[in-house]
């Protein structure tokens, strides 16, 4: 597709705003804008140009140019473009206009920049999102002067009161939910069995992974750190990180490696969706479906082990390529196993959709209207279940996705059934994709010959993970990233739960929460590791102490 008229249009918009600059590299447009023009530009991009908001990134650029910077990353999926809007911020008075009233999807990332870098946003309410109440004021973890191993010693200075001053009955869900097995906390305000309001508190386990990536690890090591962001779609994060660096450093990855990445990415998607379908069946009390789906999933884990050496697709991705090749024997076995998966799954899904309770409880529950989905820039099956036809694999193809054909299932109902069906169809599509890729697997190297990463280059990459798009943003540094920002899909999808849960039956709340396939560890991104041991932070009288 010839995108020059589109680029001209964007350039015209930027020029009309005034006092701004426009550059274009590959699939990314970079715009630098004055802070007082940011809101105007955001409105044009989000509502007139129909772009989605991927995330925003605060960066401490004082060592580079004496300023803080804020990058808003928009996505023009229709034309296959990332649009990065940069604003310089005065380091003495780091204030920038908030755009959340125009772009509701920017709510959390602004708060994260406030928490981690001390960037203030005018025109909105600011509160702590990521940092715990025990964290001292005035210490910003992502500022360059804060060491990665900084440990606060403070008294508890604030505590959020929960379940107070509300005239409705409060039903707490979390901090550990038996169906989701991750730390999250929802307060559901109910009248009878109807949910009338929802409050969410997350980030219980913020891992400071970005800081670690910027401080302790080398470029290649970050691949393995990125994998640990998620226990389900770790390979997606690793690939997304590698793509961002490869884009920034203009590294050519061999075709065969691109194919292998796509194959493993799709295996991960099949695994993740099967896991979710099983969990959904369990939440609906249909444990027979749950167990059989997980029996089928076992074969997918076997395939993952064959291809990567681990049942969890860990450890094969690097910047510049992959570490493990696929030989003829593996190819044959993968295809054989996938055929069993396809056959068994078809049979099981037919049975599942004929269970009357399942159909009744999935249909018409947890509705997310298209307009709300658009407003919040939701991603993945949550978006496609609400009629948003977006899939990064097709819209901004990466790895080997441009070489194969596949359908993107889209449903307009926006209910739990729509999200269920999107995932089911995606499993079959992924099986077809893996078969096509294995069939066309080209010969050649699996690793780039030379990898040189210059400093101060920027890269944005998005990968369509099972839950939606992962976004990784990189500014290169010396031997390691200067700034590495990760945005997991759940980050954009959780705010939609408020809409989905309101005015629904309480009994459907667990299913609706599960229907976005939330990954709280992805969203939170923590584990404090010191000397190879895992620590918890517990508050005591004198402050916060490490406890092994």
């Amino acid at each position: 597709m010839d995108i020059s008229p589109i680029l001209k249009n964007y350039k015209k918009i930027v020029e009309s705003i005034g006092k701004s600059s426009f550059t274009h590299v590959g699939d990314t447009i970079y715009i630098i804008v004055e802070p007082n023009k940011l809101r105007e530009l955001a409105e044009i991009l989000y509502w007139k140009m129909n772009c989605y908001h991927r995330t925003c990134v605060g960066v401490d650029e004082r060592p580079l140019n004496g300023h803080f910077a804020l990058y808003h990353i928009f996505g023009d999926d229709t034309n296959g473009l990332h649009i990065v809007v940069k604003v310089y911020i005065d380091p003495e008075d780091p204030v920038v206009p908030s755009i959340t009233d125009i772009v509701p999807a920017a709510d959390w990332c602004e708060l994260e920049a406030y928490d981690l870098l001390g960037i203030k946003f005018s025109g909105r309410k600011l509160y702590r999102l990521v940092l715990p109440p025990t964290w001292p004021h005035g210490v910003y973890p992502l500022r360059k002067e804060t060491p990665y191993n900084y440990r606060p010693s403070v008294k508890i200075i604030s505590g959020e009161e929960i379940g107070e001053s509300h005239d409705k009955a409060v039903v707490p869900v979390g901090p550990y939910h038996p169906a989701l097995h991750e730390p999250e906390y929802f307060e559901l305000y109910v009248e009878g069995e109807r949910v009338v309001d929802v409050k969410y508190r997350g980030f219980h386990v913020h891992r400071g992974i970005e800081k670690l990536g910027e401080s302790r690890t080398t470029y290649q090591q970050v691949n393995f750190l990125a994998e640990r962001i998620c226990g389900i779609c770790g390979f997606e994060h690793s690939v997304c990180y590698a793509l961002a660096v490869e884009k920034a450093a203009k590294i050519d990855v061999p075709e065969r490696a691109q194919y292998i990445r796509s194959i493993v990415l799709e295996i991960e998607r099949i695994h993740s969706h099967l896991l979710w379908i099983g969990v959904a069946a369990h939440v609906l009390g249909y444990d027979t479906g749950f167990m059989h789906i997980w029996r089928i999933r076992e074969l997918v884990m076997y395939i993952a082990e064959k291809l990567t050496g681990s049942r969890k697709t860990y450890g094969i991705n690097l910047i510049g390529g992959v570490r493990k090749d696929i030989n003829e024997e593996k190819k044959k076995e993968v295809i054989e196993k996938l055929e069993i998966v396809e056959k068994d799954l078809k049979k099981l899904i037919d049975t599942m959709v004929s269970v009357p309770e399942l159909k009744k409880r999935l249909t018409g529950t947890g509705i997310l209207p298209k307009s709300e989905a658009r407003k919040l820039s939701v991603v993945g099956p949550t978006a496609r279940g609400s009629g948003l036809d977006r899939d990064i694999r097709r819209d901004l193809p990466y790895a080997a996705y441009s070489e194969i054909s596949f359908k993107v299932p889209v449903y307009s109902e926006g209910d739990n059934l729509a999200r269920f069906l999107v995932r089911v169809e995606e499993v079959f599509e992924s099986i077809s994709i893996v078969k096509q890729l294995l069939d066309q697997l080209p010969r050649g190297d699996i690793m780039a010959e030379s990898i040189e990463i210059p400093e101060r280059k920027m890269g944005v990459a998005a990968v369509e993970a099972p839950r939606g798009e992962d976004v990784h943003f990189i500014i290169t540094g010396r031997g390691k990233p200067y700034r590495w920002k990760v945005r997991a899909p759940t980050y954009n999808n959780i705010p939609a739960l408020k809409v989905m849960l309101r005015d629904q039956a309480l009994a459907d709340a667990p299913l609706t929460i599960a229907s976005i396939d939330p990954c709280f560890s992805c969203t939170d991104r923590i584990v404090v590791i010191k000397d190879g041991r895992r620590y918890k932070l517990i508050p005591n009288k004198g402050g916060v102490v490490l406890y092994g």
């Binding site: 009955a169 409060v170 039903v171 707490p172 869900v173 979390g174 939910h177 038996p178 169906a179 069995e193 069946a281 939440v283 609906l284 009390g285 249909y286 444990d287 027979t288 479906g289 749950f290 167990m291 059989h292 029996r295 269970v355 009357p356 309770e357 399942l358 009744k360 409880r361 039956a505 309480l506 009994a507 459907d508 709340a509 667990p510």
Partner: protein, 295 residues
Amino acid sequence: MIEHIVVSIIVVLSIIFPTILDGVERKIKARIHSRIGPPILQSWYDIIKLFGKEQVMPRNSLHAVMLLILLTITQVFLIVYTSVSIIFQITQFDIVVIIALFIILQTIFISIPLTIPNTFSVLGGSREIALTLVNEALFIVIMGFFIYYTGITSFKQLTQLSPTVYLLILLLALFITGYVSSGRIPFDIAEAEPELASGLMIEFSGPILGVFLLTFHIRRFFVKFFPSILFLGLFIHTPISLIIAGFITTIILWIIYAVIAAILGRSRVDLAPITLLKIYLVLIALSIIGYYLKV
């Protein structure tokens, strides 16, 4: 003499065996799930382990514990009374007494969570009430029709009965009430969604939870045993044969119910009572038509 021995065995088995049957159910479900499952005696192991645990009284829930003790005693009494009255008529209104006792038991059962100051318990309790209002109310209606059609109020009188279509339809409805009362999927809405509404037992632990589980298993046994006796009474007219056949039928029913529960999903509090009401009303209407047509 033999009657006394049989009654004693049945009474003891009615208290011990339900927990073994629960183990059988877990094994059957496991097989349907294509997994091995726990040993058949696992439910007993669980209860024995719970009895060995520390006694923790739920906070502000003394009434719940007292009601639980009352529930357990009444439940055991009910199963003993039912078994004995099948062979030795205690009163001329044994069946009516059993219905009354069962309704009292259900009332205690749904009262327990409402006395616990915990959102999840209250939610579970209110869901159980919604279901009980349909199921147990219709249980009384069905039994009312049974007594009206047959004029029978004790097991001894069952010998006068012969099978008819309208009675069989009524008994089918009675078996369904038994299934619902046993709290199985799709009607386990009080216990559904573990963290949202763990229903009746959320504040119970250790020996108290053990007692609750034991009572629950006996209750599950009773809700199958009672309709089985009424059904078999149409065909078997010897009390000893009737009680033995009733016991065996209860085991078979337990297995059938386990399979049904494994192939269905969970309903919702606004769906289940309406669905049930429709089923019961259709069955009762059919039995009325059958009664007046003398079929």
